[in-house]
């Protein structure tokens, strides 16, 4: 399949207005959805509800940033659900054993676990040339198995966790939930990293044309490794936040969550073939997915419809995306003809 989308989906300047249009379209869709929700239930656009929605979406957003970095290098990471579980379980077990441990240390611990997993995945992909989907599929199984062994199949419940640990996700900074603050900080850092640093730009180069990146002296393997390491650290962080937020660590935490994260990236306009994807689109994609996840019960939509609506929106978004791109190319061709 990929033979066709290479020449077709030019990533050059010609497509720029289209990408802006795409994000505008996404924004308009979100606004329309907000108006619709508000009309059905007037408590939708209240500060409390918006804060709630953002806090529920923050973890998805943090993970989506990591996934975006990986997808930009033309990779994919299916192991993050398992990494979330392992990091969350490790930090929860530590807290259960040492209730006095500082919450900050718990976060660092989770991130270290995530970094370890990410490093191994990066090593497999970058050094041993294993296709990302296979390497991360294998690691998904391994990490999940390690989680079950570590926890001996048991759960860590909220009464075993210290208040400090639970307050990681409950506390507020300047009136905003900690999770939201962290997600915003990570969005800003990632935006600066991807758009304004040399390493960030090189990631795009690696993703859009690996041979050209090699020829121009970019340390491609090291960058791919870095991408998976970033993904690992962020999923480790998300693991601790997840356990703190839901106040329970289980072996099957976040099973299948990788698909939601990939969906957020795709909704946000990242191309799975690599080399494109922006933080601005990602934020919109994450918010849209978060709204579909959290706001449907508010307007009395049965939770059983949630998955279908979510899937239909994603399918419509990717197909619209293609249609817009085609339209753009056609008009660009027409301009050239005159």
């Amino acid at each position: 399949m990929s033979a066709d989308n290479k020449p077709g989906s030019a990533k050059g300047r010609a497509i720029r207005p289209g990408e802006g249009f795409r994000e505008l379209g996404l924004l308009m869709f979100i606004v329309l959805l907000c108006i619709g929700f508000q009309a059905r239930n007037s408590s939708f656009l209240t500060l409390a509800n918006i804060q709630d929605l953002l806090a529920n979406t923050a973890i998805l957003g943090i993970l989506a940033v990591g996934m975006l970095v990986v997808i930009i290098t033309a990779g994919i990471d299916l192991s993050i659900g398992a990494t979330i579980a392992l990091a969350g379980m490790t930090s929860a077990l530590t807290v259960a054993a040492l209730p006095g441990i500082s919450p900050l240390l718990s976060l660092v611990e989770g991130m270290a676990v995530g970094l370890a997993v990410g490093t191994v995945v990066g090593l497999l992909v970058a050094r041993f040339n294993i296709l990302p989907i296979i390497a991360t599929l294998g690691m998904m199984n391994i990490v999940r198995g390690v989680t079950y062994i570590e926890s001996k199949g048991a759960w860590v419940s909220s009464y075993q966790m210290s208040d400090g640990f639970l307050n990681i996700s409950r506390g507020t900074i300047l009136g905003a939930n900690n999770l939201v603050v962290m997600a915003v900080a990570i969005f800003i850092a990632a935006w600066y990293f991807l758009s304004h640093t040399r390493t960030g730009r090189r990631l795009y180069a690696v993703g859009s044309n690996p041979e050209a990146a090699d020829v121009s002296g970019i340390p491609r393997r090291r960058l791919v490794w870095l991408a998976y390491a970033i993904m690992g650290v962020l999923s480790g962080l998300a693991g601790v936040l997840w356990v703190s937020k839901f106040a329970s660590a289980q072996g099957d935490t976040a099973v299948g969550y990788e698909m939601s994260v990939i969906a957020a990236c795709v909704l946000g306009g990242a191309s799975i073939t690599g080399g494109s994807g922006k933080i601005s689109g990602l934020i919109l994609g994450t918010i849209l997915l978060g709204m579909l996840n959290n706001a449907l019960p508010l307007i009395n939509v049965s939770p059983f419809w949630q998955q279908l609506i979510q899937g239909a929106v994603i399918l419509a978004a990717i197909i619209m995306n293609v249609a817009v791109k085609r339209n753009n190319q056609r008009s660009a061709l027409r301009k050239r003809a005159i």
Binding site: M1, I133, G138, N141, R220, V266, F304, Q307, V322, R326
Partner: protein, 346 residues
């Protein structure tokens, strides 16, 4: 990467014969069995060895068409959702009064339609990678299953329906016979028909295949529809074995099936692989599960073993076939190209 030659003069000789991936799989298979029989005295018993196959063969029906999909250079992660949707529709239509044979036919029709939709979207919107299309249809299909059945289970099938999953003809379980028949059919289709050759050609170089006159669109649609059909077959056997169905049935099958295909030596960049490898992989993983279950080794250790097996097998495949591989990277496989820079050091 595995060898990607489809030329007529494929080298033949003892050396190449014994250096095939399948022999390594046979070796793993033997090792698994030897370990198992040492671990448990109950293992090496022909009756239970054959009888245990109905515990893992329902998924195996998906491995066959998935081999086609992956040889084509695509991927289909919506298969498990298709299984769930067709099983749910079969159960609800039966409980709404449809006779069971018709409900079973409806199950196959629904699943084939799901596959057809995947194929048609892929063909109409060529810019979209199969991964993304099937990711969204995966969510949609399972979403429909949830809308139909919510969190209920549906069952009460007639007694004869359980024959599919539990019955046997002579000493052989019916599911094993059915799988063997399907395996032979798919093997012939992949290796002995022009359709199979077209699939290989497209997996190697889609553009070249199109310019040499292959109707690539119809091949893609056919392969995905076939995958849907087999998802329906899986739904029949799985539902029969479980006795009832729920919308969350077969969760995670897609990744397990892909893992088996890859373990079987089929390269995810397309254009290479043989049907025998994935079939061996099914039995390796199946007997590993069965044998370790006998000696009470937990499923989580098994997860680790399967994951490591997957990574190690691809690693060995890369080291074994990666060297001396002189063919330039084909333009359609950017991901292979990503792994092929001569000496970029870490």
């Amino acid at each position: 990467m595995a060898e990607r030659s489809i030329s007529v003069d494929r080298p033949r000789g003892l050396r190449t014969f014994f250096l095939q991936w399948e022999w390594l799989l046979v070796l793993i298979f033997v090792v698994v069995n030897v370990i198992n029989s040492n671990l448990s005295p109950y293992y090496l018993n022909l009756g239970s060895l054959v009888g245990s196959t109905n515990a893992f063969l329902d998924m195996a029906f998906l491995v066959l068409p998935m081999t086609f999909v992956i040889v084509l250079g695509c991927i289909d992660i919506s298969v498990a959702s298709t299984v769930a949707l067709s099983a749910v529709i079969m159960a609800t239509s039966f409980n709404a009064g449809l006779p069971m044979p018709l409900a079973m036919a409806l199950c196959l029709v629904v699943s084939t339609a799901c596959g057809l939709v995947n194929g048609l979207i892929l063909v109409k919107f060529k810019e979209l990678p199969a991964m993304i299309v099937t990711l969204s249809t995966m969510i949609v299909y399972r979403g429909i299953a949830y809308v139909i059945l919510e969190d209920q289970a549906s069952g009460h099938f007639p007694n004869w329906f359980s024959f599919l999953g539990w019955g046997s003809i002579g000493p052989l379980p019916f599911i094993l016979i059915a799988f063997a028949a399907c395996a032979v059919l798919f093997g012939l289709l992949l290796h002995k028909t022009s359709f199979g050759r077209k699939v290989f050609a497209m997996g190697n170089n889609l553009t070249a295949a199109r310019y040499s006159g292959i109707k690539t669109d119809s091949v893609i649609v056919a392969v995905f529809a076939l995958t849907g059909l087999m998802a329906g077959v899986t739904a029949l056997f799985l539902t029969s074995r479980m006795g009832s169905t729920r919308p969350n049935v077969a969760q995670g099958y897609e990744l397990a099936v892909i893992a088996m295909v890859v373990l079987g030596g089929v390269s995810t960049s397309g254009g290479s692989g043989r049907i025998g490898g994935p079939i061996l992989a099914i039995f390796i993983i199946g007997y590993l599960t069965y044998g370790l279950g006998l000696v009470n080794i937990k499923a989580n250790v098994l997860l680790i073993i399967i994951g490591s097996l997957l990574i190690l097998s691809v690693l060995v495949l890369n080291l074994r076939f990666g060297k001396g591989h002189r063919r330039p990277a084909s333009p359609n496989a950017k991901m292979i190209a990503a792994g092929k820079a001569p000496d970029a050091k870490l």
